[in-house]
Symmetry: C2
Subunit: 316 residues, 2 copies
Protein backbone atom coordinates (compact mmCIF):
# COMPACT_ATOMS: atom_id res chain seq x y z
CA UNK A 1 0.00 0.00 0.00
CA UNK A 2 3.05 2.26 -0.03
CA UNK A 3 4.44 4.32 -2.90
CA UNK A 4 6.23 1.38 -4.46
CA UNK A 5 3.41 -1.14 -4.66
CA UNK A 6 4.39 -4.73 -5.15
CA UNK A 7 1.36 -5.73 -7.19
CA UNK A 8 0.40 -2.71 -9.31
CA UNK A 9 -3.19 -2.12 -8.22
CA UNK A 10 -5.64 -0.61 -10.72
CA UNK A 11 -4.91 3.10 -11.42
CA UNK A 12 -8.16 4.17 -9.72
CA UNK A 13 -7.11 2.29 -6.60
CA UNK A 14 -3.56 3.65 -6.63
CA UNK A 15 -4.92 7.19 -6.70
CA UNK A 16 -7.48 6.44 -4.00
CA UNK A 17 -4.87 4.84 -1.74
CA UNK A 18 -2.52 7.75 -2.05
CA UNK A 19 -5.33 10.31 -1.50
CA UNK A 20 -6.56 8.51 1.63
CA UNK A 21 -3.08 7.98 3.00
CA UNK A 22 -2.29 11.69 2.60
CA UNK A 23 -5.62 12.57 4.15
CA UNK A 24 -5.26 10.40 7.26
CA UNK A 25 -1.60 11.37 7.66
CA UNK A 26 -2.53 15.08 7.73
CA UNK A 27 -5.32 14.47 10.25
CA UNK A 28 -3.19 12.29 12.53
CA UNK A 29 -0.46 14.90 12.48
CA UNK A 30 -2.92 17.53 13.69
CA UNK A 31 -4.33 15.32 16.42
CA UNK A 32 -0.87 14.35 17.69
CA UNK A 33 0.60 17.86 17.64
CA UNK A 34 1.02 19.18 21.19
CA UNK A 35 -1.11 16.35 22.55
CA UNK A 36 0.78 16.26 25.85
CA UNK A 37 2.86 18.52 28.08
CA UNK A 38 5.25 15.57 28.24
CA UNK A 39 7.41 16.21 25.18
CA UNK A 40 8.84 12.71 25.37
CA UNK A 41 5.39 11.13 25.33
CA UNK A 42 4.14 13.33 22.48
CA UNK A 43 7.25 12.52 20.41
CA UNK A 44 6.96 8.81 21.05
CA UNK A 45 3.27 8.85 20.17
CA UNK A 46 4.06 10.52 16.85
CA UNK A 47 6.93 8.08 16.25
CA UNK A 48 4.64 5.10 16.83
CA UNK A 49 1.90 6.46 14.58
CA UNK A 50 3.47 8.42 11.72
CA UNK A 51 5.59 5.54 10.52
CA UNK A 52 4.69 4.92 6.90
CA UNK A 53 2.01 2.37 7.68
CA UNK A 54 -0.25 1.13 4.88
CA UNK A 55 -3.34 2.72 6.48
CA UNK A 56 -5.47 -0.12 5.13
CA UNK A 57 -8.15 0.34 7.79
CA UNK A 58 -8.64 4.08 7.14
CA UNK A 59 -8.72 3.33 3.40
CA UNK A 60 -11.51 0.81 4.02
CA UNK A 61 -13.43 3.35 6.13
CA UNK A 62 -13.16 5.97 3.37
CA UNK A 63 -14.14 3.49 0.64
CA UNK A 64 -17.14 2.42 2.68
CA UNK A 65 -18.24 6.03 3.25
CA UNK A 66 -18.16 6.56 -0.54
CA UNK A 67 -20.16 3.37 -1.14
CA UNK A 68 -23.06 4.63 0.97
CA UNK A 69 -22.97 7.97 -0.85
CA UNK A 70 -20.95 10.01 1.66
CA UNK A 71 -17.99 12.34 1.28
CA UNK A 72 -14.44 11.37 2.24
CA UNK A 73 -14.30 14.00 4.97
CA UNK A 74 -17.26 12.50 6.80
CA UNK A 75 -15.06 9.50 7.61
CA UNK A 76 -12.04 11.46 8.88
CA UNK A 77 -12.69 10.92 12.62
CA UNK A 78 -13.46 7.22 12.07
CA UNK A 79 -10.34 6.77 9.91
CA UNK A 80 -8.06 8.42 12.49
CA UNK A 81 -9.59 6.64 15.47
CA UNK A 82 -9.31 3.21 13.86
CA UNK A 83 -5.71 3.79 12.79
CA UNK A 84 -4.77 4.95 16.31
CA UNK A 85 -6.20 1.73 17.78
CA UNK A 86 -4.25 -0.26 15.19
CA UNK A 87 -1.03 1.66 15.94
CA UNK A 88 -1.41 1.29 19.72
CA UNK A 89 -1.84 -2.47 19.28
CA UNK A 90 1.38 -2.67 17.24
CA UNK A 91 3.33 -0.70 19.86
CA UNK A 92 2.15 -3.03 22.63
CA UNK A 93 2.55 -6.15 20.46
CA UNK A 94 6.20 -5.33 19.86
CA UNK A 95 7.00 -5.16 23.61
CA UNK A 96 9.49 -7.70 25.01
CA UNK A 97 6.75 -9.44 27.04
CA UNK A 98 4.67 -9.81 23.87
CA UNK A 99 6.27 -10.48 20.46
CA UNK A 100 9.61 -8.92 21.45
CA UNK A 101 10.27 -7.24 18.11
CA UNK A 102 13.15 -4.79 17.68
CA UNK A 103 12.16 -3.54 14.25
CA UNK A 104 8.94 -2.46 12.59
CA UNK A 105 9.02 -1.38 8.97
CA UNK A 106 12.80 -1.39 9.20
CA UNK A 107 12.92 1.13 12.05
CA UNK A 108 13.46 0.50 15.79
CA UNK A 109 10.18 -0.26 17.56
CA UNK A 110 8.92 2.32 20.08
CA UNK A 111 10.40 0.52 23.11
CA UNK A 112 13.76 0.35 21.31
CA UNK A 113 13.76 3.97 20.12
CA UNK A 114 12.53 5.18 23.53
CA UNK A 115 12.07 2.67 26.38
CA UNK A 116 9.58 0.08 27.56
CA UNK A 117 7.73 2.32 30.01
CA UNK A 118 7.26 4.94 27.30
CA UNK A 119 6.01 2.31 24.84
CA UNK A 120 3.40 1.11 27.34
CA UNK A 121 2.25 4.70 27.93
CA UNK A 122 2.24 5.46 24.18
CA UNK A 123 -0.13 2.57 23.52
CA UNK A 124 -2.38 3.60 26.40
CA UNK A 125 -2.53 7.23 25.29
CA UNK A 126 -3.15 6.36 21.61
CA UNK A 127 -6.16 4.30 22.65
CA UNK A 128 -7.59 7.20 24.69
CA UNK A 129 -6.95 9.57 21.78
CA UNK A 130 -8.96 7.34 19.44
CA UNK A 131 -12.06 7.69 21.60
CA UNK A 132 -11.39 11.37 22.20
CA UNK A 133 -11.43 12.01 18.44
CA UNK A 134 -14.73 10.19 18.00
CA UNK A 135 -16.35 11.97 20.93
CA UNK A 136 -15.23 15.45 20.13
CA UNK A 137 -14.29 17.20 16.92
CA UNK A 138 -10.57 17.93 16.96
CA UNK A 139 -8.27 20.26 15.02
CA UNK A 140 -9.00 20.12 11.30
CA UNK A 141 -12.13 18.07 11.85
CA UNK A 142 -15.05 20.18 10.68
CA UNK A 143 -17.24 17.16 10.22
CA UNK A 144 -20.82 17.58 11.39
CA UNK A 145 -21.47 13.93 12.10
CA UNK A 146 -24.58 13.33 14.19
CA UNK A 147 -24.21 12.80 17.90
CA UNK A 148 -25.92 9.39 17.69
CA UNK A 149 -23.58 8.35 14.87
CA UNK A 150 -20.52 9.30 16.89
CA UNK A 151 -21.84 7.27 19.82
CA UNK A 152 -22.55 4.30 17.52
CA UNK A 153 -19.00 4.51 16.15
CA UNK A 154 -17.56 4.52 19.68
CA UNK A 155 -19.68 1.48 20.54
CA UNK A 156 -18.46 -0.33 17.41
CA UNK A 157 -14.80 0.59 17.92
CA UNK A 158 -14.64 -0.14 21.66
CA UNK A 159 -16.22 -3.54 21.11
CA UNK A 160 -13.93 -4.37 18.18
CA UNK A 161 -10.83 -3.24 20.08
CA UNK A 162 -11.49 -4.90 23.43
CA UNK A 163 -11.81 -8.26 25.14
CA UNK A 164 -14.43 -9.55 22.68
CA UNK A 165 -12.38 -8.34 19.70
CA UNK A 166 -8.75 -7.49 19.00
CA UNK A 167 -7.32 -7.83 22.52
CA UNK A 168 -9.33 -11.01 23.11
CA UNK A 169 -7.88 -12.41 19.87
CA UNK A 170 -4.36 -11.60 21.01
CA UNK A 171 -5.03 -13.43 24.27
CA UNK A 172 -6.30 -16.46 22.29
CA UNK A 173 -3.15 -16.24 20.19
CA UNK A 174 -0.98 -16.53 23.30
CA UNK A 175 -3.07 -19.43 24.58
CA UNK A 176 -2.55 -21.20 21.24
CA UNK A 177 1.24 -21.30 21.54
CA UNK A 178 2.48 -24.86 21.71
CA UNK A 179 -0.84 -26.52 20.93
CA UNK A 180 -2.53 -27.43 17.66
CA UNK A 181 -5.51 -25.36 16.55
CA UNK A 182 -8.03 -26.70 14.08
CA UNK A 183 -9.29 -24.54 11.23
CA UNK A 184 -12.36 -23.33 13.15
CA UNK A 185 -10.27 -22.27 16.14
CA UNK A 186 -7.83 -20.49 13.84
CA UNK A 187 -10.71 -18.64 12.18
CA UNK A 188 -12.19 -17.57 15.54
CA UNK A 189 -8.79 -16.30 16.63
CA UNK A 190 -8.28 -14.22 13.48
CA UNK A 191 -11.87 -13.03 13.37
CA UNK A 192 -11.17 -11.43 16.75
CA UNK A 193 -7.50 -10.50 16.45
CA UNK A 194 -7.57 -8.75 13.07
CA UNK A 195 -11.07 -9.30 11.68
CA UNK A 196 -12.93 -7.29 14.32
CA UNK A 197 -11.04 -4.07 13.57
CA UNK A 198 -11.27 -4.58 9.79
CA UNK A 199 -15.03 -5.04 10.16
CA UNK A 200 -15.26 -1.95 12.40
CA UNK A 201 -13.41 0.05 9.72
CA UNK A 202 -15.94 -0.85 7.05
CA UNK A 203 -18.98 -0.44 9.31
CA UNK A 204 -17.81 2.84 10.85
CA UNK A 205 -17.03 4.29 7.43
CA UNK A 206 -20.58 3.48 6.39
CA UNK A 207 -22.02 4.96 9.60
CA UNK A 208 -20.08 8.17 9.00
CA UNK A 209 -20.88 8.45 5.31
CA UNK A 210 -24.55 7.57 5.46
CA UNK A 211 -27.12 10.26 4.81
CA UNK A 212 -29.31 11.19 7.76
CA UNK A 213 -32.48 10.29 5.89
CA UNK A 214 -31.36 6.80 4.84
CA UNK A 215 -34.27 4.41 5.23
CA UNK A 216 -33.80 2.08 8.22
CA UNK A 217 -34.44 -1.12 6.26
CA UNK A 218 -32.02 -0.14 3.53
CA UNK A 219 -29.52 0.74 6.25
CA UNK A 220 -29.83 -2.77 7.76
CA UNK A 221 -29.41 -4.48 4.40
CA UNK A 222 -26.37 -2.36 3.56
CA UNK A 223 -24.89 -3.08 6.99
CA UNK A 224 -25.36 -6.82 6.56
CA UNK A 225 -23.71 -6.75 3.13
CA UNK A 226 -20.80 -4.64 4.35
CA UNK A 227 -20.36 -6.77 7.45
CA UNK A 228 -20.21 -9.87 5.27
CA UNK A 229 -17.76 -8.17 2.91
CA UNK A 230 -15.60 -7.09 5.85
CA UNK A 231 -15.55 -10.53 7.40
CA UNK A 232 -14.38 -12.09 4.14
CA UNK A 233 -11.63 -9.57 3.45
CA UNK A 234 -10.53 -9.76 7.10
CA UNK A 235 -9.94 -13.48 6.75
CA UNK A 236 -8.51 -13.08 3.25
CA UNK A 237 -6.02 -10.57 4.62
CA UNK A 238 -4.86 -13.06 7.26
CA UNK A 239 -4.62 -15.98 4.81
CA UNK A 240 -2.55 -13.80 2.45
CA UNK A 241 -0.33 -12.76 5.40
CA UNK A 242 0.29 -16.43 6.16
CA UNK A 243 1.05 -17.12 2.49
CA UNK A 244 3.49 -14.19 2.32
CA UNK A 245 5.17 -15.37 5.51
CA UNK A 246 5.80 -18.65 3.70
CA UNK A 247 6.79 -17.42 0.24
CA UNK A 248 7.39 -13.68 0.57
CA UNK A 249 10.65 -11.83 0.41
CA UNK A 250 12.11 -10.72 3.78
CA UNK A 251 13.17 -7.33 2.40
CA UNK A 252 9.68 -6.35 1.19
CA UNK A 253 7.80 -8.00 4.08
CA UNK A 254 9.60 -5.91 6.68
CA UNK A 255 9.89 -9.00 8.89
CA UNK A 256 11.85 -12.23 8.48
CA UNK A 257 10.22 -14.56 5.95
CA UNK A 258 9.19 -17.86 7.55
CA UNK A 259 8.96 -16.38 11.06
CA UNK A 260 5.54 -17.95 11.76
CA UNK A 261 6.81 -21.41 10.87
CA UNK A 262 9.96 -21.01 12.93
CA UNK A 263 7.79 -19.99 15.91
CA UNK A 264 5.48 -23.00 15.37
CA UNK A 265 2.50 -20.72 15.01
CA UNK A 266 -0.52 -22.37 13.43
CA UNK A 267 -1.26 -20.68 10.08
CA UNK A 268 -3.60 -21.22 7.16
CA UNK A 269 -0.60 -22.53 5.22
CA UNK A 270 0.31 -25.05 7.92
CA UNK A 271 -3.32 -26.23 8.17
CA UNK A 272 -4.36 -26.13 4.50
CA UNK A 273 -1.07 -26.44 2.64
CA UNK A 274 0.24 -23.65 0.40
CA UNK A 275 -1.78 -24.35 -2.77
CA UNK A 276 -5.06 -24.67 -0.96
CA UNK A 277 -4.34 -21.54 1.11
CA UNK A 278 -3.79 -19.57 -2.13
CA UNK A 279 -7.07 -20.89 -3.54
CA UNK A 280 -8.83 -20.08 -0.25
CA UNK A 281 -7.60 -16.47 -0.26
CA UNK A 282 -8.79 -15.97 -3.87
CA UNK A 283 -12.13 -17.56 -3.03
CA UNK A 284 -12.61 -15.28 0.00
CA UNK A 285 -11.92 -12.20 -2.14
CA UNK A 286 -14.55 -13.38 -4.66
CA UNK A 287 -17.05 -13.99 -1.87
CA UNK A 288 -16.35 -10.53 -0.43
CA UNK A 289 -17.11 -8.95 -3.80
CA UNK A 290 -20.30 -10.99 -4.14
CA UNK A 291 -21.41 -9.91 -0.66
CA UNK A 292 -21.69 -6.35 -1.90
CA UNK A 293 -24.36 -7.44 -4.36
CA UNK A 294 -26.72 -8.23 -1.46
CA UNK A 295 -27.59 -4.55 -1.12
CA UNK A 296 -28.23 -1.45 -3.21
CA UNK A 297 -25.62 1.22 -2.56
CA UNK A 298 -26.22 4.85 -3.50
CA UNK A 299 -22.48 5.43 -3.99
CA UNK A 300 -19.67 3.70 -5.83
CA UNK A 301 -18.57 0.27 -4.54
CA UNK A 302 -15.79 -0.06 -7.12
CA UNK A 303 -13.04 0.79 -4.62
CA UNK A 304 -14.31 -1.78 -2.12
CA UNK A 305 -14.22 -4.39 -4.88
CA UNK A 306 -10.72 -3.39 -5.99
CA UNK A 307 -9.56 -3.50 -2.36
CA UNK A 308 -10.79 -7.08 -1.96
CA UNK A 309 -8.71 -8.10 -4.97
CA UNK A 310 -5.73 -6.05 -3.87
CA UNK A 311 -5.67 -7.68 -0.41
CA UNK A 312 -5.08 -11.14 -1.88
CA UNK A 313 -2.83 -10.01 -4.74
CA UNK A 314 -0.39 -7.94 -2.65
CA UNK A 315 3.17 -9.13 -2.25
CA UNK A 316 3.81 -7.45 1.14
CA UNK B 1 -12.60 3.41 52.35
CA UNK B 2 -12.81 -0.30 53.12
CA UNK B 3 -14.89 -2.04 55.80
CA UNK B 4 -12.39 -1.32 58.55
CA UNK B 5 -11.94 2.41 58.16
CA UNK B 6 -8.93 3.93 59.80
CA UNK B 7 -10.49 7.29 60.58
CA UNK B 8 -14.14 6.67 61.43
CA UNK B 9 -15.92 8.83 58.85
CA UNK B 10 -19.33 10.26 59.73
CA UNK B 11 -22.08 7.59 59.87
CA UNK B 12 -23.81 9.05 56.80
CA UNK B 13 -20.58 8.76 54.85
CA UNK B 14 -19.87 5.20 56.05
CA UNK B 15 -23.27 4.11 54.81
CA UNK B 16 -22.86 5.98 51.51
CA UNK B 17 -19.42 4.49 50.91
CA UNK B 18 -20.61 0.99 51.52
CA UNK B 19 -23.73 1.47 49.35
CA UNK B 20 -21.69 2.86 46.46
CA UNK B 21 -18.99 0.23 46.77
CA UNK B 22 -21.60 -2.55 46.65
CA UNK B 23 -23.29 -0.85 43.72
CA UNK B 24 -20.18 -0.45 41.57
CA UNK B 25 -18.95 -3.94 42.51
CA UNK B 26 -22.21 -5.49 41.28
CA UNK B 27 -22.10 -3.51 38.04
CA UNK B 28 -18.45 -4.28 37.35
CA UNK B 29 -19.12 -7.96 37.96
CA UNK B 30 -21.85 -7.92 35.32
CA UNK B 31 -19.73 -6.06 32.78
CA UNK B 32 -16.77 -8.39 33.27
CA UNK B 33 -18.74 -11.63 33.19
CA UNK B 34 -18.11 -13.51 29.94
CA UNK B 35 -16.45 -10.43 28.44
CA UNK B 36 -14.08 -12.51 26.30
CA UNK B 37 -13.88 -15.94 24.71
CA UNK B 38 -10.38 -16.02 26.16
CA UNK B 39 -11.05 -17.42 29.63
CA UNK B 40 -7.57 -16.44 30.77
CA UNK B 41 -8.09 -12.82 29.73
CA UNK B 42 -11.55 -12.61 31.29
CA UNK B 43 -10.24 -14.07 34.57
CA UNK B 44 -7.27 -11.74 34.66
CA UNK B 45 -9.49 -8.72 33.92
CA UNK B 46 -11.75 -9.66 36.86
CA UNK B 47 -8.69 -10.25 39.06
CA UNK B 48 -7.30 -6.80 38.23
CA UNK B 49 -10.62 -5.06 38.83
CA UNK B 50 -12.52 -6.86 41.61
CA UNK B 51 -9.75 -6.51 44.14
CA UNK B 52 -11.21 -4.69 47.12
CA UNK B 53 -10.28 -1.23 45.86
CA UNK B 54 -11.57 1.84 47.69
CA UNK B 55 -13.69 2.90 44.69
CA UNK B 56 -13.09 6.55 45.60
CA UNK B 57 -13.69 7.75 42.04
CA UNK B 58 -17.07 5.99 41.64
CA UNK B 59 -18.07 7.29 45.09
CA UNK B 60 -17.27 10.83 43.92
CA UNK B 61 -19.31 10.34 40.74
CA UNK B 62 -22.31 9.10 42.74
CA UNK B 63 -22.01 11.92 45.28
CA UNK B 64 -21.84 14.45 42.48
CA UNK B 65 -24.92 12.99 40.77
CA UNK B 66 -26.84 13.39 44.04
CA UNK B 67 -25.64 16.99 44.44
CA UNK B 68 -27.17 18.02 41.13
CA UNK B 69 -30.43 16.30 42.07
CA UNK B 70 -29.96 12.99 40.23
CA UNK B 71 -30.43 9.37 41.29
CA UNK B 72 -27.53 7.04 42.08
CA UNK B 73 -28.37 4.77 39.15
CA UNK B 74 -27.95 7.57 36.63
CA UNK B 75 -24.22 7.55 37.44
CA UNK B 76 -23.69 3.77 37.14
CA UNK B 77 -22.08 3.82 33.67
CA UNK B 78 -19.85 6.76 34.62
CA UNK B 79 -18.84 5.09 37.90
CA UNK B 80 -17.92 1.81 36.19
CA UNK B 81 -16.09 3.44 33.30
CA UNK B 82 -13.98 5.66 35.56
CA UNK B 83 -13.09 2.76 37.86
CA UNK B 84 -12.06 0.60 34.88
CA UNK B 85 -9.71 3.35 33.67
CA UNK B 86 -8.27 3.59 37.19
CA UNK B 87 -7.84 -0.19 37.43
CA UNK B 88 -6.20 -0.46 34.00
CA UNK B 89 -3.72 2.25 35.00
CA UNK B 90 -2.80 0.33 38.17
CA UNK B 91 -2.27 -2.91 36.23
CA UNK B 92 0.06 -1.17 33.76
CA UNK B 93 1.77 0.88 36.52
CA UNK B 94 2.70 -2.29 38.37
CA UNK B 95 4.51 -3.79 35.33
CA UNK B 96 8.26 -4.46 35.64
CA UNK B 97 9.06 -1.73 33.08
CA UNK B 98 7.01 0.76 35.11
CA UNK B 99 6.93 0.66 38.96
CA UNK B 100 7.78 -3.06 39.11
CA UNK B 101 5.46 -3.90 42.01
CA UNK B 102 4.84 -7.50 43.05
CA UNK B 103 1.98 -6.78 45.43
CA UNK B 104 -1.12 -4.63 45.36
CA UNK B 105 -3.39 -4.58 48.40
CA UNK B 106 -1.42 -7.53 49.74
CA UNK B 107 -2.11 -9.74 46.70
CA UNK B 108 0.18 -10.54 43.75
CA UNK B 109 -0.14 -7.95 40.99
CA UNK B 110 -1.71 -9.08 37.69
CA UNK B 111 1.63 -9.76 35.96
CA UNK B 112 2.69 -11.85 38.98
CA UNK B 113 -0.58 -13.79 39.29
CA UNK B 114 -0.71 -14.31 35.49
CA UNK B 115 2.14 -13.03 33.30
CA UNK B 116 3.38 -9.77 31.79
CA UNK B 117 1.75 -10.23 28.39
CA UNK B 118 -1.61 -10.90 30.04
CA UNK B 119 -1.21 -7.84 32.27
CA UNK B 120 -0.57 -5.63 29.23
CA UNK B 121 -3.64 -7.05 27.48
CA UNK B 122 -5.77 -6.72 30.65
CA UNK B 123 -5.01 -3.01 30.88
CA UNK B 124 -5.72 -2.52 27.18
CA UNK B 125 -9.03 -4.37 27.35
CA UNK B 126 -10.18 -2.60 30.53
CA UNK B 127 -9.66 0.73 28.81
CA UNK B 128 -11.77 -0.36 25.81
CA UNK B 129 -14.46 -1.66 28.16
CA UNK B 130 -14.70 1.71 29.89
CA UNK B 131 -15.63 3.41 26.61
CA UNK B 132 -17.86 0.54 25.59
CA UNK B 133 -19.91 0.97 28.77
CA UNK B 134 -20.33 4.70 28.20
CA UNK B 135 -21.30 4.25 24.56
CA UNK B 136 -23.74 1.44 24.99
CA UNK B 137 -25.94 0.32 27.87
CA UNK B 138 -24.64 -2.98 29.20
CA UNK B 139 -26.07 -5.75 31.39
CA UNK B 140 -27.85 -4.33 34.44
CA UNK B 141 -27.58 -0.80 33.10
CA UNK B 142 -31.12 0.43 32.49
CA UNK B 143 -30.06 4.02 32.62
CA UNK B 144 -31.69 6.28 30.05
CA UNK B 145 -28.93 8.84 29.90
CA UNK B 146 -29.17 11.15 26.92
CA UNK B 147 -27.06 10.42 23.89
CA UNK B 148 -25.40 13.84 24.08
CA UNK B 149 -24.58 13.27 27.77
CA UNK B 150 -22.96 9.92 27.01
CA UNK B 151 -20.86 11.54 24.30
CA UNK B 152 -19.88 14.38 26.67
CA UNK B 153 -18.85 11.81 29.30
CA UNK B 154 -16.70 9.97 26.75
CA UNK B 155 -15.06 13.25 25.75
CA UNK B 156 -14.36 14.07 29.42
CA UNK B 157 -13.04 10.60 30.26
CA UNK B 158 -10.87 10.15 27.17
CA UNK B 159 -9.28 13.54 27.72
CA UNK B 160 -8.71 12.89 31.44
CA UNK B 161 -7.25 9.44 30.78
CA UNK B 162 -4.96 10.26 27.87
CA UNK B 163 -1.83 12.19 26.93
CA UNK B 164 -3.15 15.48 28.32
CA UNK B 165 -4.29 13.80 31.56
CA UNK B 166 -3.41 10.66 33.48
CA UNK B 167 -1.01 9.02 31.00
CA UNK B 168 0.69 12.37 30.34
CA UNK B 169 1.15 12.79 34.09
CA UNK B 170 2.73 9.36 34.35
CA UNK B 171 5.13 10.31 31.57
CA UNK B 172 6.03 13.53 33.44
CA UNK B 173 6.56 11.42 36.56
CA UNK B 174 9.13 9.29 34.72
CA UNK B 175 10.83 12.38 33.36
CA UNK B 176 11.08 13.73 36.92
CA UNK B 177 13.16 10.82 38.21
CA UNK B 178 16.57 12.01 39.35
CA UNK B 179 15.86 15.72 39.03
CA UNK B 180 14.39 18.25 41.45
CA UNK B 181 10.89 19.52 40.79
CA UNK B 182 9.64 22.77 42.25
CA UNK B 183 6.19 23.00 43.80
CA UNK B 184 4.52 24.23 40.59
CA UNK B 185 5.99 21.37 38.56
CA UNK B 186 4.88 18.87 41.21
CA UNK B 187 1.35 20.32 41.12
CA UNK B 188 1.18 20.11 37.31
CA UNK B 189 2.35 16.51 37.44
CA UNK B 190 -0.29 15.50 40.00
CA UNK B 191 -3.02 17.57 38.39
CA UNK B 192 -2.51 15.37 35.33
CA UNK B 193 -1.53 12.05 36.91
CA UNK B 194 -4.29 11.73 39.51
CA UNK B 195 -6.18 15.04 39.44
CA UNK B 196 -7.56 14.70 35.90
CA UNK B 197 -9.39 11.46 36.65
CA UNK B 198 -10.66 12.73 40.02
CA UNK B 199 -12.01 15.81 38.26
CA UNK B 200 -13.58 13.64 35.53
CA UNK B 201 -15.30 11.57 38.24
CA UNK B 202 -16.95 14.62 39.78
CA UNK B 203 -17.86 16.23 36.44
CA UNK B 204 -19.14 13.01 34.84
CA UNK B 205 -21.27 12.25 37.91
CA UNK B 206 -22.84 15.69 37.56
CA UNK B 207 -23.37 15.21 33.80
CA UNK B 208 -25.11 11.91 34.44
CA UNK B 209 -27.25 13.11 37.34
CA UNK B 210 -28.31 16.44 35.91
CA UNK B 211 -31.93 16.90 34.87
CA UNK B 212 -32.51 17.42 31.16
CA UNK B 213 -34.16 20.78 31.72
CA UNK B 214 -31.36 22.27 33.83
CA UNK B 215 -30.81 25.86 32.82
CA UNK B 216 -27.57 26.31 30.85
CA UNK B 217 -26.24 29.14 32.99
CA UNK B 218 -26.90 27.26 36.22
CA UNK B 219 -25.21 24.24 34.62
CA UNK B 220 -22.07 26.29 33.89
CA UNK B 221 -21.92 27.72 37.41
CA UNK B 222 -22.38 24.26 38.95
CA UNK B 223 -19.69 22.86 36.66
CA UNK B 224 -17.24 25.57 37.63
CA UNK B 225 -17.89 24.98 41.34
CA UNK B 226 -17.56 21.21 40.99
CA UNK B 227 -14.45 21.53 38.87
CA UNK B 228 -12.88 23.75 41.54
CA UNK B 229 -13.93 21.33 44.26
CA UNK B 230 -12.49 18.39 42.31
CA UNK B 231 -9.19 20.13 41.67
CA UNK B 232 -8.76 20.86 45.40
CA UNK B 233 -9.61 17.34 46.57
CA UNK B 234 -7.43 15.85 43.83
CA UNK B 235 -4.42 17.75 45.17
CA UNK B 236 -5.46 17.12 48.79
CA UNK B 237 -5.60 13.41 48.05
CA UNK B 238 -2.04 13.47 46.71
CA UNK B 239 -0.68 15.57 49.60
CA UNK B 240 -2.28 13.15 52.07
CA UNK B 241 -0.78 10.21 50.16
CA UNK B 242 2.66 11.80 50.50
CA UNK B 243 2.05 12.39 54.22
CA UNK B 244 0.95 8.79 54.75
CA UNK B 245 4.00 7.56 52.85
CA UNK B 246 6.09 9.43 55.42
CA UNK B 247 4.22 8.67 58.63
CA UNK B 248 1.76 5.87 57.82
CA UNK B 249 1.91 2.27 58.89
CA UNK B 250 3.18 -0.23 56.29
CA UNK B 251 0.52 -2.81 57.21
CA UNK B 252 -2.45 -0.47 56.64
CA UNK B 253 -0.90 1.38 53.68
CA UNK B 254 -0.56 -1.82 51.63
CA UNK B 255 2.88 -0.64 50.46
CA UNK B 256 6.14 -0.09 52.32
CA UNK B 257 6.09 3.10 54.39
CA UNK B 258 8.76 5.56 53.25
CA UNK B 259 8.94 4.11 49.73
CA UNK B 260 8.72 7.53 48.02
CA UNK B 261 11.63 8.86 50.06
CA UNK B 262 13.75 5.78 49.44
CA UNK B 263 13.10 6.18 45.69
CA UNK B 264 14.04 9.88 45.85
CA UNK B 265 10.65 10.87 44.46
CA UNK B 266 9.79 14.52 44.97
CA UNK B 267 6.75 14.75 47.28
CA UNK B 268 4.82 17.49 49.04
CA UNK B 269 6.50 16.39 52.27
CA UNK B 270 9.99 16.65 50.77
CA UNK B 271 9.20 20.09 49.33
CA UNK B 272 7.12 21.60 52.15
CA UNK B 273 8.20 19.64 55.22
CA UNK B 274 5.79 17.42 57.15
CA UNK B 275 4.02 20.04 59.28
CA UNK B 276 3.39 22.38 56.40
CA UNK B 277 2.21 19.49 54.19
CA UNK B 278 -0.36 18.54 56.85
CA UNK B 279 -1.57 22.17 57.06
CA UNK B 280 -1.71 22.35 53.26
CA UNK B 281 -3.87 19.21 53.00
CA UNK B 282 -6.30 20.57 55.60
CA UNK B 283 -6.40 23.93 53.83
CA UNK B 284 -7.13 22.28 50.46
CA UNK B 285 -10.03 20.33 51.99
CA UNK B 286 -11.46 23.57 53.41
CA UNK B 287 -11.09 25.29 50.03
CA UNK B 288 -12.80 22.35 48.31
CA UNK B 289 -15.78 22.68 50.65
CA UNK B 290 -15.95 26.46 50.10
CA UNK B 291 -15.88 25.91 46.31
CA UNK B 292 -19.25 24.22 46.54
CA UNK B 293 -20.77 27.45 47.88
CA UNK B 294 -20.12 29.14 44.53
CA UNK B 295 -23.24 27.49 43.07
CA UNK B 296 -26.79 26.54 44.01
CA UNK B 297 -27.28 22.78 43.94
CA UNK B 298 -30.74 21.23 43.76
CA UNK B 299 -29.53 18.10 45.60
CA UNK B 300 -27.56 17.39 48.75
CA UNK B 301 -23.86 18.36 48.77
CA UNK B 302 -23.29 16.94 52.27
CA UNK B 303 -21.55 13.81 51.00
CA UNK B 304 -19.18 15.82 48.79
CA UNK B 305 -18.28 17.90 51.83
CA UNK B 306 -17.76 14.85 54.04
CA UNK B 307 -15.61 13.28 51.32
CA UNK B 308 -13.32 16.31 51.20
CA UNK B 309 -12.74 15.97 54.96
CA UNK B 310 -12.39 12.21 54.74
CA UNK B 311 -9.69 12.42 52.05
CA UNK B 312 -7.34 14.38 54.33
CA UNK B 313 -8.28 12.56 57.57
CA UNK B 314 -7.81 9.01 56.29
CA UNK B 315 -4.96 6.92 57.63
CA UNK B 316 -4.54 4.68 54.56
Amino acid sequence: MEESLGCSPAPTLTQFLSDCQARVERQLNLHLKNCSSSQALAQAMAYGTLNGGKRLRPVLAYASALAVGGQLQSADPAACAIELIHCYSLVHDDLPAMDDDDLRRGKPTVHKAFDEATAILVGDALQSLAFQILSHPGPGDDCKTLVQTRLDMIAALSQAAGAAGMVGGQALDFEAVGRDLDLDELKTLHRMKTGALVRASVIMGAMAGRHVDTDNDLFSVQNAALSDYAQKIGLAFQVQDDILDEIGDTSTLGKPQGSDRSQHKPTYVSLLGLDQAIDHAQELAKQAISSLEQAVFPGDTEILRLLARYIVDRSH
